[in-house]
Symmetry: C2
Subunit: 402 residues, 2 copies
Amino acid sequence: MDTSPDSCLDTRTDPGVLRETAREPSQALDPKSPVARFGADAPLPMDSGVMLAPFQIAYQTAGRLNADRSNAVLICHALTGDQHFAHTHPVTGKPGWWETLVGPGKPVDTDRFFVVCSNVIGSCMGSTGPASLNPETGRPYGLDFPLVTIRDMVRAQAMLLDHLGIGDLFLCIGGSMGGMQVLQWAALYPERVFAAMPIATGARHSAQNIAFHEVGRQAIMADPAWADGRYLEAGTRPAKGLGVARMGAHITYLSEAALHRKFGRRFQAGSAPTFSFNADFQIESYLRHQGLSFVERFDANAYLYLTRAMDYFDLAEDHGGVLANAFRGTKTRFCAMSFTSDWLFPTADSRAIVHALNAASAPVAFVEVESDKGHDAFLLDEPAMFSAAKGFIDAAARARGL
Amino acid sequence: MDTSPDSCLDTRTDPGVLRETAREPSQALDPKSPVARFGADAPLPMDSGVMLAPFQIAYQTAGRLNADRSNAVLICHALTGDQHFAHTHPVTGKPGWWETLVGPGKPVDTDRFFVVCSNVIGSCMGSTGPASLNPETGRPYGLDFPLVTIRDMVRAQAMLLDHLGIGDLFLCIGGSMGGMQVLQWAALYPERVFAAMPIATGARHSAQNIAFHEVGRQAIMADPAWADGRYLEAGTRPAKGLGVARMGAHITYLSEAALHRKFGRRFQAGSAPTFSFNADFQIESYLRHQGLSFVERFDANAYLYLTRAMDYFDLAEDHGGVLANAFRGTKTRFCAMSFTSDWLFPTADSRAIVHALNAASAPVAFVEVESDKGHDAFLLDEPAMFSAAKGFIDAAARARGL
């Protein structure tokens, strides 16, 4: 296992990642994150049966690990998120995606906790995924990369924590696909999770959500530039297909109310329709921008793989069809959170989680936050979310003696 | 104005349509409908300022017009519908799309009423649209066809009724985009509409609905086979783009509950994931089928035009920003109908219509049908919809002396 440093443990940079940059466009997107590299002696056992080796996990941290290593927090990112939760993004230049919730004095207080966030396996910001080189062929994996599951992501994160010398987590927290990982952590490694916050998520992906993902995948695969997944070698990029996929998905992250408030039926310039297929309406222009900017920072095949991982997620199915079985005997304390206007992972999905945790006699709090911002509310400025998170985390910290 | 016959008035066929067949693939889809042809002396005045001529409207009828021509019903079809409301579809071989509601002894009783349904201007089942030949160039219009609005559709329908010798309508009825036409009829020609039933519709298209349409349009225009709208001349067809557009739209026609009931998370074959991008889930296979079959019966440019017409629709905006102004002084009696699980045109949209009608002192009934079938419920077997429609229509017929 070849390892690279974490900021609080070591400051050596890993030139291996930088070298690969020129040959792996998507991994070139992030030359800055430290990576943990795992070799043939430490393969990742995947649900598909594949033993993946070598592989690497890129990550970021904030705060300092305390002496008894009891203050570690793992943040799990969503579908198109990455490890830059509290650092300026190397591609977009934007602030970290969860600086609203995480930082000095914030609910996830980096003055008190050591916070880790890793790019999930199968993604494209430095962790091994379909854009990585397949050592057997010397070419990018493309669709030869094995299908990834939420459990595979969690197994890889556990290996990263082992590598960082972190036994158990004080807190595991994440929204959307990140929330799926939180649930999977609690089910797979209950003894390693003191407290868990699954936010705006579900214990299984619904038929409607699978349907939306399938439309996005078909949009990508319909793009001739996708080249059966071999676009990196072909020197092309399925930008249009990926853009369309992102546009469609983006609608599901918002809400009718938020779209009405932000855009309504307002026209772009002036107040009259142009009687053309130009982006007359502000909402059209906004969506096109979302599609275009996404293409700059994300790999199309990674999008296929991660949407598939979410589709496959069904924690009850993995436990004899009874969700409570996933949590029996757990000592983890939970706080589930949903948002009233989230129709991608509606409150009913969180309720199902809470019911199962109650049935498993697990300590669980449930917060439904009133918000008109839709699914993406968990990434936004939602004071009710912050205060509930702070209350839960502070109480857990006291119970943990932090 | 060159005209072709209606089944109840004449049985001559119009060879003009058949001749165009070989050169206009999409119009070749329907060689069976009678058409009304309008020449240079009877152009269609369009909202874009264009005076369209020549143009033709394809239509179908059922029942017989009575002696005093007081029993005419106009059915307005939805986005991807057509005039085959009660006849076997010439392309798909399926029953008429509204045989559930219209026919002998049905709420819209063809033993009592003379029912007309025409393909909207801009569509592709025999009425003039972007796939038609532009007489100025001898080539298909493509994007040179003028943008179409809901009001343009209604004006063309009024010209068709004039041509058929129908002064006023006993009933104007339609769902979704058809409901928009019903509202536009009542606003534009109040003296010609005795009773109106706008179903599962809105007086304006919401930001979210515009957003979904824009994704579909971008999917079509991203397809290289679309060829900037000149695919008919190029001998190509943007089948993938149009298929993706249809897949995405189709999700919005259903509901989470209906998808869960019909498909849930069931796998296609056996009960295990294949760890691939095959259509593992039944919902994926179903959606792909929807995309493929749609491409067989619809023209991609027509889809662009008709989605745009819906986006532009804002009846209040056309009347000083006050929806009630669209209906002031009307003598039309209304019955608005919505479905509880319709999230494309939710009950709130129908309520806004009803509030405006009340403010305009118009007689209006409002029925919210309990259904888990989503937007498409208006096309399906919904006994509560049938009984409410029958009650409203029978009462209107009595008031009309029918």
